[in-house]
């Protein structure tokens, strides 16, 4: 396997953020009260992360990937429980994507990826109701 480039890792992270933005829109419709407020807050954070990643990719002289108009969900979402499971699933995907950023040789990107992993792992723990020993890594 070749070395992961900064651009390819950032593009993968951007794709994960785009998927999360879409997915939170679906999940939020099935949530209420404090959980809906959390979903809105996290949706905004993913939007901000998308803008940051887009700017970083442009700064590296590359083109960002375009978000898809539609994403197929991993399972049906029809109530609060499945909505929370979807949110955790999305955050896990974002964490895995940033884990790839940690593997690049650029030190600043490694730090950026590691800090982003912490944020998404915290959000995943919120939705799941429990922490994990190795966020982003396969067991």
């Amino acid at each position: 396997m070749g070395e992961i480039t900064g651009v390819s890792a950032l593009r993968a992270a951007l794709a994960a953020e785009d998927a999360a933005i879409y997915g939170y829109g679906v999940a939020g419709a099935h949530l209420s009260g404090g959980r809906q407020a959390a979903a809105e807050q996290y949706w905004e954070r993913h939007n901000k992360a998308r803008d940051t990643l887009t700017a970083m990719i442009y700064a590296l002289g590359a083109q960002p990937v375009t978000a898809q108009a539609f994403y197929s969900l991993p399972f049906p979402v029809h109530d609060r429980t499945s909505a929370m499971a979807l949110a955790a699933y999305l955050e896990d995907g974002v964490t895995r994507a940033y884990l790839a950023v940690v593997a690049v040789s650029d030190q600043r990107l490694r730090d950026f990826g590691a800090m982003a992993m912490q944020s998404s792992a915290e959000r995943a723990a919120y939705w799941r109701g429990s922490t994990q020993a190795f966020p982003g890594l396969s067991r």
Binding site: T131, A133, P135
Partner: protein, 175 residues
């Protein structure tokens, strides 16, 4: 049956030819092995090994703090913050970190040290508060991120994942 025993003349010819062959190939006897001198003692550990040993020691200290907290705090406190579950995850961290450390037998390192299950280390305080655990988790996460620069990619990913786990522990502990 043919006689396959080498004749004395053949052996003498081979002995005379070997240095010539080495010279032709650009080899000298000193070029045959250019690695560390096996008689000069153990080689210095690679930077990754030093970093990994330090991270293992830090993880052991964190586990020691948790054990002290569990021994001193009330059952209700431990349960409300789910300290046993957090401790179990730190033990998983330690297991995976140790699995990455491969050193020659007899080397005194964190990997060879006993599992910190019996009692806290001498440096551990008599009582550990939730706030202390929270600060230790935060420091651990920050320390792991600081070490990302010096290690190879796969180890950096393991450090980042453990740091992310520590960050979620901070939240659980009310930080």
């Amino acid at each position: 049956m043919p006689n396959i025993r080498p004749r004395r003349r053949t052996l003498l010819a081979s002995a005379a030819t070997l240095p010539l062959l080495l010279a032709t190939a650009g080899c000298r006897s000193s070029d045959v092995f250019t690695g560390p001198d096996p008689l000069a003692g153990r080689p210095r550990p690679a930077p990754d090994v030093i970093t990994l040993a330090a991270v293992i020691a830090a993880e052991e200290n964190l586990i020691s703090l948790y054990r002290t907290a569990l021994a001193g705090d009330s059952a209700a406190t431990a349960r409300s913050y789910d300290l046993p579950a957090l401790l179990a995850q730190h033990e998983q961290h330690l297991t995976r970190l140790r699995a990455r450390l491969i050193q020659p037998p007899g080397t005194a390192t964190a990997a060879a040290s006993p599992r910190p299950s019996a009692k806290p280390s001498a440096a551990a305080p008599a009582r550990v508060t939730i706030a202390r655990l929270c600060a230790a988790e935060r420091a651990s996460a920050a320390g792991l991120v600081r070490r990302l620069a010096t290690v190879e990619p796969a180890l950096a990913q393991l450090f980042a994942s453990i740091a992310a786990s520590d960050a979620t522990h901070v939240t659980v502990l009310g930080g």
